[in-house]
Amino acid sequence: MAKSSEAVKVVGAWSSPFAMRPLIALKIKSVEYECLEEEIGCKSEFLLKSNPVHKKIPVLIHGDKLVCESLIIVEYIDEVWSSAPSILPSDPYDRAIAKFWAAFVDDKFFPSMKESYIGVGEAKKAGLKQMVDGLALLEDAYVKCSKGKPFFGGNQIGYLDIALGCFLGWLRVIEKSFQMKLLDEAKTPGLLNWAETFCAHPAVKDVMPQTDQLIEVSKLISRLRAASASSPPK
């Protein structure tokens, strides 16, 4: 089919959890793709042209079509390469639940992770609490969605596994930096096991960055942030 054989490229960055999502989806579907790596702290002209509305990664380029927003890209990949393992559940209600929790991850959980890591004082404390509370809710969601199977999606990696799993690298950075366990046997036994299984999966292990690499990147990002704060853009 012509559609499936058109060239696929992903504009992303190895350290970006959002950019990881389409890569996992493409690997699940065994689709060959080319990575167009963006430099941290510097948006290329190509990216600005490919995503003029948000100017963000990831962008999927499929033939002459451009798709933006990581979860929308994942759903697009699932619909185009529909014969390979399914990423979204087939039942509409299960789909709605998967999308609900993915939206929770993006709208609540990720911002609390960010605040925990780069916030200061009261905001940092609030971020940490929100993140821990969020993990408790996600543990509950995992138990309900997985129904005893390894992934949120059941026996296979699904939409919600991808939506949450892409943050595991940065979660480990927070754990290491603050000498704390966010996923543990006592409070989140389901997610603890799931995290290991997810990261070891063939579709994930080559695109999940190492914790120490991310810690180096986070130092670079802080330096860039400090530099732009002291000399605001013209």
């Binding site: 933006c68 927003e69 697009y76 619909e79 509409p92 789909r95 709605a96 929770f104």
Partner: protein, 219 residues
Amino acid sequence: MAEELILLDFWPSMFGIRVRIALAEKGLKYEYRDEDLSNKSPLLLQMNPVHKKIPVLVHNGKPVCESAIIVEYIDEVWHDKSPLLPSDPYQRSQARFWVDFIDKKLYDTGRRTWSTTGEEQEAAKKEFIEILKVLEEQLGDKPFFGGESLGIVDVSLIGYYCWFYSYETLGNFSIGAECPKIIGWVERCSNKESVSKSLPDSKKVFGFVQELRKKYGLV
């Protein structure tokens, strides 16, 4: 088995309006329950414990939350009538992108046109018009964002129309003057029964906004 549909909603909510329109497009019968957001019902707290927000669609006792997710759910379950999404994956991705754009940009900016003053308000007005102009460009010469009939982008955006009068009056600007194509689109949408039945009166919304402004000490 008879379908049981309950919509937990709040009459001026542009998010609740989306669900009302989607249900009407599919010709579905449902029980509408208006929530008092200062005193949320036990059912709402039980059905949406995570966010405690409307709208919530309760379908045969099972809750679906988040308006954009509810609209797609309705479209998938009752797929044989008035499809709100195209069948082509790329066009679906574009429709979803623009619904996401509306969700990320319009609510906060619109709110700032009536809840702020001075420079902040001027900036909000300018941004609001810019957002609508981006959407106008997407509409192009089509009658609806969904083409010949309503799609998820139309359903997601039209609920803001009943708030336009409030934004314009309190912000002292004219949306129609800057975005005539949007107004043309609004008129076409309003001719549809599913829309006209689902939108509250703009003056009634204005009254509600004035109450909010009093509550926030803005009046």
